[in-house]
């Protein structure tokens, strides 16, 4: 049972981490909490479904299908995030801290209702992209899906790490996170870097949305809300603005939820309460999160 719960927790944590990265990337650069991120993830899931309905099944099954679904879901979610930034956040930058926050909540409501009204207000089946197999291992039933999810998420995280640490654009992102004005003075096109950040964050959200659809087998207009809240919590837990922190926070939250729901009697009812109690305790002890630093490099 321990192994099974560990796998349950890691899979959940991997999805939370991917979403948390989207929050933390944006926050690291703009100090803005992108509340529309949960809807970007939901749109990613719907694009993933759309791809499967639009293309012939031969193209959308197996590893090739996986790649196609993910590429398009990520591209669409990333592009959407860029558009949201351009229309809803950029005009409000430098006005007040509150205006973009309210704008973000507005975008979230608009996107959710747009899907609700124009696409579907019902649960939609998300077809299996890969044939699911179940492995019996030390008393645990581990599905191939869980493994795919875990490795996809880890792969994307590794790619993000490489992108930020090793590429020129990544370097510019770090510079912007450090000091936007100084970066601009050094000749960095900060507007473009902000757009790239939204693109990358949105793409990760889109991937998380598609993974969410694959894992639970159905999607709905409001599927982003709860994981979005949880992932935001995870980002704060790990230290918002800090990339390693987001990943760590996501896995901690996933494992914690599974531990509470899986081991305490009546724990499923209490898991959210306990998760947030832990969050508050961590923040009391370390106000800027586990890996967060008060001042210094945020990305």
């Amino acid at each position: 049972m321990l192994l099974q719960q560990l796998v349950n927790g890691l899979t959940l944590g991997a999805i939370y981490s991917l979403i948390a990265l989207g929050y933390t990337l944006v926050y690291g650069i703009l100090m803005l909490i992108n509340f529309a991120h949960s809807e970007v993830l939901m749109v990613g899931a719907f694009v993933g479904l759309g791809v499967q309905l639009f293309f012939p099944p031969s193209l959308t099954s197996g590893p090739l299908g996986l790649a196609l679904v993910f590429t398009l879901a990520m591209a669409a979610a990333g592009a959407l995030n860029v558009v949201v930034e351009r229309l809803a956040y950029r005009p409000l930058r430098n006005i007040s801290r509150l205006a973009p926050l309210i704008s973000a909540i507005g975008v979230s409501i608009i996107l959710q209702n747009a899907v609700f009204l124009w696409v579907s207000n019902q649960s939609q089946t998300f077809p299996d992209i890969m044939k699911m197999r179940s492995f019996q291992f030390a008393g645990a039933d581990i599905s191939s899906l869980q493994i795919v999810i875990l490795f996809t998420a880890l792969g994307l995280m590794a790619a993000l790490h490489f992108f930020i640490q090793k590429t020129r654009v990544g370097k510019a992102m770090r510079a912007c996170a450090d000091d936007m004005e100084a970066a601009e003075l050094m000749g960095i096109d900060t507007k473009r870097i902000v757009a790239v950040t939204f693109l990358v964050g949105g793409a990760l959200g889109g991937a998380a949305g598609a993974l969410n659809g694959m894992y639970y087998g159905s999607i709905k207009y409001n599927l982003g809300f709860l994981p979005g809240m949880k992932a935001f919590t995870a980002a704060v837990l790990g230290g918002i603005g800090n990339i390693q922190g987001a990943v760590l926070g996501g896995f901690i939250l996933g494992l914690l939820e599974v531990a509470v729901a899986g081991y305490l009697p009546n724990g499923a009812e209490w898991k959210d309460v306990i998760a947030f109690v832990v969050l508050i305790c961590v923040l009391l002890a370390r106000p800027s999160g586990i890996l967060g630093e008060k001042i210094g490099e945020k990305v």
Partner: protein, 386 residues
């Protein structure tokens, strides 16, 4: 601001009191959007069908209208809707609400003005039971045409214990008045029968990951799982249970018996046992006429699980109304008409598609049939057992 508000109110009041055509309204309050939207829309279609028939038949010396309001299956919204309804002086009765969580708070609003309400789908016993509380100040205006959860939960418990001879169960619910009520009634009866309840857990509506909980349940090695809740969570539980290799029999109530279950659970829905209130409409001899008329009026529309209850509830109201409102002048004093209708409904003896409906002192129907069905994935249907 205050002046503007009182002006608006004055205008509204004047509009309400002025000369008007003779119209009586039946309010239909149920979820028309959201998760339960398609179920609610089905009931609304049935209400509209019944009212349209009444208008065509010219049984009434005035025109009947349906006023449809969307409570989005949300208790807060249901209270808003209820307040809108009681402020409409042409409404003589309510068909609604769908979810118990909505019906209970809304019924308290209706009771303040003595507006009769018949729920076509809410099965939590509290809905009518609350009228017997000492704190209940209004009239007993609440009725329903569906058997309650205590009957449904008990029926499942007896079925499992006596027919399937299973003894060890894990019980889950979704923390809503409907789901938790159903699960508690099941647990109570199953324990009385001599069964064993290994665990009793709540899950949150909207949560999608139940694997940790199901893994714990698997370790308890139950004979089956009983879940009180609606189809989305039922579907996710079924799917995740199968993925975890928890191959036990799965039971739930009428809230899960809808084809949406197959969209969420996929093949994992196959074989799930679901109780439904009454007899499935396609097996009801008295409902053939209704089904035909329904499909005639709404071609290409699928009949939803509670549509025939909505039709029956509306017709019970109409029968009562015909008795207490013989002339167009009856509509002059709406509060008196509502009160007369409540009294009339109390003595209802209506023969319709459900058979004979009479109400007990709480307003619950005495027509208490429950049917056990089993989900079949290949043709997305629910096959009645026994």
């Amino acid at each position: 601001m205050k002046i503007a508000l009182s002006l608006i109110l004055a205008v509204l009041a004047a509009a309400g009191c002025g000369p008007r055509e003779k119209v009586a309204r039946i309010a239909a309050a149920m979820p028309l959007t959201g998760d339960m939207g398609t179920e609610g829309q089905g009931v609304l279609r049935a209400v509209e069908l019944a009212v349209a028939e009444a208008n065509v038949s010219k049984r009434f010396p005035f025109k009947l209208e349906v006023r449809a309001l969307d409570d989005r299956a949300d208790p807060k919204e249901a209270v808003n809707v209820a307040n809108l309804i009681v402020s409409d002086s042409r409404v003589i009765a309510v068909v609604g609400h769908y979810n118990s969580g909505c019906s209970i708070p809304a019924s308290q609003v209706y009771s303040r003005v003595g507006l009769p309400m018949i729920s076509p789908a809410s099965t939590n016993p509290k809905l009518t039971q609350q009228q017997l509380d000492s704190g209940w100040t209004g009239v007993r205006n609440i009725f329903r045409v569906v058997p309650t959860d205590d009957i449904q939960g008990s029926f499942s418990a007896d079925f499992i214990y006596q027919k399937l001879k299973l003894r060890r169960f894990a019980v889950l619910h979704d923390k809503t008045p409907y789901g938790q009520g159903l699960a508690e009634q099941f647990q109570k009866r199953f324990l009385e029968d001599g069964g064993k309840v290994l665990s009793f857990d709540g899950v949150s509506v909207g949560d999608r990951d139940f694997k940790a909980l199901l893994t714990r349940i698997k370790a308890l090695n139950p004979d089956g799982v009983y879940f009180g809740g609606l189809y989305t969570e039922t579907g996710l539980l079924l799917k995740q249970a199968r993925e975890l290799g928890l191959a036990v029999r799965f039971f739930s109530g009428d809230g899960s018996k809808t084809t949406g279950l197959f969209d969420v659970a996929g093949p994992a829905a196959d074989g799930a046992y679901l109780t439904i209130t009454g007899i499935p409409v396609e097996y009801l001899a008295g409902a053939r006429d209704f089904i035909q008329k329904y499909h005639q009026r709404y071609p290409a529309m699928e009949l939803k699980p509670f549509d025939h209850f909505g039709y029956e509830a509306t017709n019970i109201i109409l029968e009562g109304l015909a008795a207490v409102a013989p002339s167009p002048d009856s509509l002059a004093a709406i509060p008196a008409l509502r009160a007369a209708l409540v009294r009339k409904l109390r003595d209802t003896r209506y023969t319709g598609l459900l058979g004979v409906t009479t109400f007990d002192e709480k307003g619950d129907t005495l027509n208490k049939i429950i049917t056990m069905t089993q989900a079949r994935y290949h043709d997305r249907s629910f096959e009645p057992l026994q």
